[in-house]
Amino acid sequence: MSDLVARAQLIMLAETLGVPPERVRHLERLGAENLRSLRERISNLLFDEQSATFARMSRLAPLVPNGLVARVSQAIVPPLVAGRAAGALGVDHPGRAKGVLSDLSPQYMADCAPFLDQRTVAVLAPSIPPALLIPAANELMRRKAYVTASWFLDYATPEALLDLEAGIPDKAGLLHTTSLVQSDERLEQIVRLLPTERLAVIVRTAVESPELLMAGLSLLARLSPELAADLGDILFEHLDDDGLTEVLRTVVGQDAIPELLTVAAAVREDAVRRIAADPFLTEPATLEEFVDAAVEHDRWEGLLRVAEHLSGEAGRRINRAAKSAAKSAGSSKAKAS
C-alpha cells in the first residue's frame, strides 16, 4: 500500500502550489515527513511575501462591518485570496473572526479552507466555536476533501474534537480524515479522546469499501499496540467469515499486508485464530505473499502469531521463512560489526 499519509501530504503540496497532484507525483518518494516540511516552507514563503499587503488589509478592518466583509468576500473574493488573507486578519482581529465566520456560507468556507495559513489556524482554532465550523466540516466530507479536513484535526482542541465528531454524521468520512492525520502521536491523542462506543461506529465503517479498509488498517497500524488491539478487535468482531476472507483478499490486492500484520501482532488471540482459519490465507499463493511482506517489512510478530494456529505445511513454511530471515539478519549484523 502506498503510504496514505505521504499521499495526503503530496495533495496538500499540490494545493499549495496550485497545480494538479500529477505535477508533483514524482516527489511521493520523499515520504510524508519530508513532503510536509517542504510544503510548510513553500506555504510560509507564499504567506510571508504578502505579509505587508495583509497588514494593510488588516488596517481596513475598522472601516468595514462584519456583514459587509462576508457579503463582499463571497461575491468577489476568490477562495485563494480569502483563505490566504483570513488567517492574518483573524489573528489581528480575533474578536471579529467569530462574527465574520457566522455570516459565511459553509460552501465558501470549504472553498477557502485549503488556502489557510496553518500557522494562524493553530493560533485561532481554540477561539472559534465548533458550531461555526461543523457545517463547513460536513461540506468538506460531502466533497470527500479529507486531506484538507485532516489538518484541522491537528489543531482542534479536545472539546472541539468531541463536538466535531458528534456533529459529523459521515463516520466513513471521519475514518478517512482521521487516517490522514500527519503525526502518529497526534493520531493517538485523537483516538484516545473519543469514547469507545463512538470510535467503534467509525472503525466498523472500514468494511464498507476497499478504500475505507485501507484507511482503517493504516490508522490501526499507526496506533500503540494496546489501542490497536482494542480497535482491531472491534473490527474483527464486526466481520463474519466471508467478510474476513474479503478483507484478506483486499489486503493482498491493495498491498496492505504489512499493515494487517502490524494489527495481527496487536489484536487478541481470537482474531488471530480467525485469520489463521481463513481458507484464503492458506492458499499457497496467498501464503507466499504474506511471507514476502514479512521478509520485506520485518513484520514477523503478527505472522508468527498466525502460524501458531496453522497446522501442516502452512505453519512450517512460515516458521522456516522466519528462521531464515532471522539468520540473515544475524549474519548482516555480524558483518556490520
Binding site: T16, L17, G18, V19, R23, V24, H26, L27, L30, N34, L35, S37, L38, R41, I42, L45, L46, E49, Q50, T53, R56, M57, R59, L60, L63, V64, L68, V72, A75, I76, V77, P78, L80, V81, R84, A85
Partner: protein
Amino acid sequence: MRDRNVDAKTALRKQLGPDLAVLDLLTEQESAELQVLIDDARATQRKALDASISEVLGRLPRLARGPARKIMFG
C-alpha cells in the same frame, strides 16, 4: 527575480531555508521544476490579491473608499 546563473537547488535553498534537509534529496532537474512551480504560484497569488483588492475597494461604502485607498496604496 531569480538569478538564472545560480543552480536551481541553491536558489531553492535561498528561498526556502538552508536548513531544509529534504532539498538534498531532490535532483537538479526536480529542483528546477519545483522552482518553476513556486514562481508560478507566487505570480498567481500576487495577481489574484491585486485584482481582489481593487474589486473590494470598489464595493466599499463611498465614504470609506478614500481612506481605504490611502491605507492600501499610500
